[in-house]
């Protein structure tokens, strides 16, 4: 058991074991090393964001937490249970929302939730109530008896979330919860996730959307090539890896190339950001800076500085 001191929502310091602890985890698929010496500790009661570009190993990590993928090396503990030996017990106490829609299209919302209430061992007498509660969470009460095939994409995603919450888990794994959704539906899901954290549920969310991590996560771990390369609150990551302000210089391609080489010459951290060159840590440029627009640094700047990868 890991004994990290964590601060729970009531403000008390406790030495409860971390909700999730991974140490030196490796996972190989043939030639590909998907997870390469991953160390990760998720304290109880926080919303923890796993941020990384596609292919960073986030989904593999998520699958290892339910023992649907087995680590080649290293140790994994979830809710104090050792995986894979006690994974079934861990799964009983956590909820999972997968990235890919794996709802039974032939069943109704109510039928799916009832099946999962059974799978999660919700006692017979409490099952109907659990299903009603889940329908309420997903805002699907009017569609309770509609077949999944007839639901919209947003409704299906909400049902996926509700399915993972049917048994009131202490820990919820969300794998790219809003990938491919409309901005409006994304907002709905964000408030749902925020509500979970307010309820004291530990949330581990993988995402490659910066905004999602920035808005929801108390702590963000940036993953790249199968390991965590930086960890902290969004503000700490921004301050530590992109500084306070960013200078964006706009211009025709020739001008941008000129600015980029100037930055390289002076040792300024810079990156192409759409039609502009963004120079990080603009607060320390002392008067020699080219003309441009100053803006506060954000998590995207830190992310790109860390991973060297542009994201959507």
């Amino acid at each position: 058991m890991s004994g990290a001191a964590t601060q729970d929502p009531q403000g008390e310091i406790s030495t409860a074991p971390a909700a999730i602890a991974l140490r030196g985890v490796h996972k190989r698929f043939g030639e590909i090393l998907a997870v390469d010496g991953l160390d990760l500790e998720v304290p109880n009661g926080v919303c923890f964001g796993l941020l990384g570009p596609n292919g960073a190993g986030k989904s593999t990590t998520m699958r290892m937490l339910t023992a649907q993928a087995l680590a080649d090396e290293g140790s994994i503990e979830v809710l104090g249970y050792e995986l894979p030996r006690e994974s079934k017990q861990a799964r009983l106490e956590m909820g999972v929302v997968p990235q890919l829609d794996n709802l039974d299209v032939e069943l109704t919302c109510r039928q799916i939730l009832t099946v999962f209430a059974r799978l999660y061992r919700v006692p017979r007498g409490a099952r109907d109530e659990a299903v009603e509660r889940a329908l309420q969470i997903a805002n699907l009460r009017p569609r309770a008896d509609t077949i999944v095939r007839e639901l919209s994409g947003g409704m299906r995603r909400r049902l996926l979330v509700a399915r993972g919450l049917i048994h009131r888990p202490r820990l919820v794994l969300l794998d790219e919860p809003t990938v491919g959704l409309d901005p409006q539906i994304r907002q709905e899901l964000w408030s749902l996730i925020d509500g979970l954290r307010a309820d004291g549920v530990t949330v581990l969310m993988s995402t490659h959307y910066i905004e999602e991590a920035e808005r929801l996560a108390d702590t963000v771990a940036v993953m790249s090539a199968g390991k965590v390369i930086a960890e902290g609150t969004p503000a700490e990551l921004v301050a530590g890896h992109a500084g306070e302000r960013v200078l964006e210089v706009y211009g025709p391609p020739a001008r941008l190339a000129e600015v980029s080489s100037l930055a390289a010459e002076r040792g300024w951290e810079s990156r192409r950001s759409g039609p502009a060159v963004a120079i990080l840590r603009a607060e320390s440029l002392d008067g020699e800076a080219p003309e441009g627009v100053l803006r506060p640094a954000n998590l995207e700047d830190a992310f790109v500085a860390l991973t060297g990868e542009e994201i959507e």
Binding site: Q68, L70, Q89, N102, L107, V115, R118
Partner: protein, 270 residues
């Protein structure tokens, strides 16, 4: 524990083990819900198919073969069709449902994220299919009654024989689905394994009339033992040899079950 946790049912009070009834029931409850959507089609085909067999073989050939192996041809065929019905209603779901739920619908991925392990998932799926195969296996006998088949007490054993046989063939289908690369691969199994299996089992003609080599093949065909057991039960001829037939079917079921769990398990868990 925070105040929030205190409001929840003590999770550690529920402990989990191997092949838990609750997990099996949970997985099967999904099958039952889905069955609620297509039971009419299943019932229709399980009645119409033996009817057609009996009309074609029974009425068509009856004029030339009034008796076969000591019983009327109608009685012979209607009992044979029980076995073929069990074979197809278990091997096909074993192959196709498994492949579709695993690869296309990802249902198995969803359930394995819940406290259900691979062994429970596969066992529950096979159990459901074999119960259904056992129950629907009676349909050809019911049709047979209308064509002159005599009711016998031994017929009450037919659902049980169908269940055990179905368990084996469904597990066989699951194991095939686990190694199939695409859904088209099932064509090889259907044409090269299942079709000869259902013909060379004493379903429509006795295996004793077959040439020596082929007859030996029939004896290792589990469906042959199913057919023998069903006939002996239906014609009140159960004897010591039937213990052997039952033993073969049970051994086949257990072997295929373990094969299904190990093969699909390897592919469901990375």
């Amino acid at each position: 524990m925070s105040a929030v946790d205190a409001g929840r049912a003590g999770p550690r009070a529920t402990s989990v083990g191997r092949l838990e009834p609750a997990a099996l029931a949970g997985v099967m409850s999904r099958d039952v819900s889905i069955f609620g959507r297509y039971w009419k089609a299943t019932t229709f085909s399980s009645i119409v198919q033996p009817t057609i067999y009996l009309l074609a073989f029974g009425l068509g050939i009856r004029a030339f073969i009034p008796q076969i192996a000591g019983v009327s041809y109608v009685a012979y065929v209607s009992t044979g069709v029980v076995a073929t019905a069990v074979l197809f209603s278990s091997a096909f779901p074993g192959m196709f449902n498994t492949f579709v739920r695993w690869q296309f619908q990802r249902t198995y991925d969803a359930m394995l994220a819940a406290p259900v392990d691979v062994e429970e998932l596969i066992t529950a799926e096979v159990l459901w299919v074999s119960i259904r195969a056992g129950v629907y296996g009676v349909a050809p006998l019911i049709v047979g009654f209308f064509f002159g088949l005599e009711p016998e007490w031994g017929m009450l054993l037919v659902p049980l024989i169908g269940f055990v046989t179905g368990f084996g063939f469904c597990s066989f289908g699951v194991a095939i689905a686990a190694v199939a690369k695409t859904i088209d691969n099932f064509n090889y199994v259907t044409s090269a394994v299942l079709t000869p299996m259902f013909l060379v089992a004493g379903t429509f003609f006795p295996v004793e009339t077959l040439p020596d080599g082929v007859r030996q093949v029939a004896y290792i065909n589990p469906l042959y033992h199913c057919v023998e057991l069903i006939r002996n039960a239906c014609f009140a001829e159960l004897g010591p040899a039937d213990l052997g037939h039952a033993a073969v079917l049970i051994a086949f079921a257990l072997l295929m079950w373990r094969l299904a769990v190990s093969q699909l398990g390897k592919r469901l868990i990375d």
